[in-house]
Symmetry: C2
Subunit: 243 residues, 2 copies
């Protein structure tokens, strides 16, 4: 984390996103109950020191302990080392995650200077309404630690760009790479603009991707083609003519 | 329409989808007020004769007149020449469409033997909740006449497959090709399976695409990876932690 934070900071980054369960590994099974730490635990204090030293905000995935409950969480620490937001994965994927974690019960946004960031973790981003809800709450960027595995490369290549397009926000996914036990990760981390076009895309291996995230571009895209504003919620809950 | 219906029927098709505003052309401006016909008008009777002769159901876009009101509609005629469903485009695209048409006020499904079909027209399909609402109402296939123009190829290549993936339905888009006045259409008609993978994809020119649409495959995909069932609507309307 330290080297990546320094390298990103040297390139002028304001925020670095790490993958889901970055601190412990994703595929650790029941060991997660021992590894889980409170949001303000010792690991977050180490991360805070790294953020402060590099002068860059950090978002990373980790297993969070809150009393007897364990969440699959992501913590945002600002460039001064201050914990700013903690998001608990709301859509748990598959049987294993549901055995290990309790799902979060709300979405979260936070402000980094003039940038409003919404948070999701991996499977969450497959749900269009999750991204849309954050976009409608004013987020310019959806930051998504992931542990996307084979054979779901379609999610990185196709579903994530569609999320950015339809909700007219930046979406940045940081994925795990390589193998961990019986799981092969996709890599394919990516940063997509609010018009759905890719700004940066990794291959299967670890890379540091950099992109400018501009609130003014979000506004320009929405002014040009107002998809988000032209939703018709009354239609999606109203009667259907079934013939 | 007649040749295409015959060719599709010869290949065993049960339903043929034609583009948006197929009967009159899409880029006809205010002439649409003269060209518009009631759903039961003379053109639909010709189409019914074609469907009956070819023994195949037809879905096509046309400008619909209902009293003083004109809609951008799609009519489904079954293989016996019976008009089965009429859908009025609910999300009108851009200033020109909003000048010419009144938006429809409800979604529509219809049954063709054991297949439940939902209807959308072009821009409608960019709204994830429109597809999702039809999928939750039981549709196996979303049939989409389109007039997708440059530079929006991303919608055909990326957004439409994401729609199929997230709502776990087949999506079939029939697009216009070539130029019409100042508009260049994308082509790129496509049929996507309920796992988001392409079953058939046209290039820029007209092609007859064929695919098997299997309700059992929809069920199998949903059983394997229950995205549609794992939505959490309470989360999308609940409070957000804004930090």
């Amino acid at each position: 984390m330290c080297q990546t934070a320094d390298a990103a900071s040297a390139q002028g980054a304001g925020l670095v996103i790490f993958p889901e369960m970055f601190l412990t590994g994703y595929n650790v099974g029941a060991a997660v109950f021992k590894l889980a730490e409170p949001a303000a635990g010792p690991s977050s204090q180490k991360a805070a020191a790294i953020a402060r030293k590099a002068g860059v905000a950090l978002l990373y995935g980790y297993p969070e302990r809150d009393g007897d409950t364990v969440y699959n969480s992501a913590l945002l620490i600002d460039r001064n080392g201050r914990p700013l937001a903690n998001y608990r994965k709301a859509h748990l994927y598959g049987g294993e995650e549901k055995k290990l974690f309790v799902p979060g019960d709300r979405l979260v946004t936070a402000e980094l200077d003039d940038l409003k960031v919404g948070f999701l973790i991996c499977y969450d981003v497959e749900f269009p309404e999750a991204v849309q809800t954050l976009a409608l709450a004013g987020a310019h960027l959806i930051a998504v630690p992931t542990a996307l595995m084979e054979p779901f490369g379609l999610v990185a290549r196709t579903v994530v760009p569609a999320r950015a397009y339809e909700s007219q926000v930046y979406v940045a996914c940081a994925n795990l790479c390589g193998k961990e036990g019986n799981i092969a990760y996709c890599g394919l981390s990516g940063i997509v603009g609010p018009d759905g076009h890719e700004l940066a895309r990794a291959g299967k291996n670890e890379e540091l991707l950099i992109a400018d995230i501009e609130p003014a571009t979000v506004a320009a895209v929405r002014a040009n083609n107002p998809i988000l504003a032209e939703r018709r919620p009354e239609l999606y809950t109203g009667p259907i003519n079934s013939l």
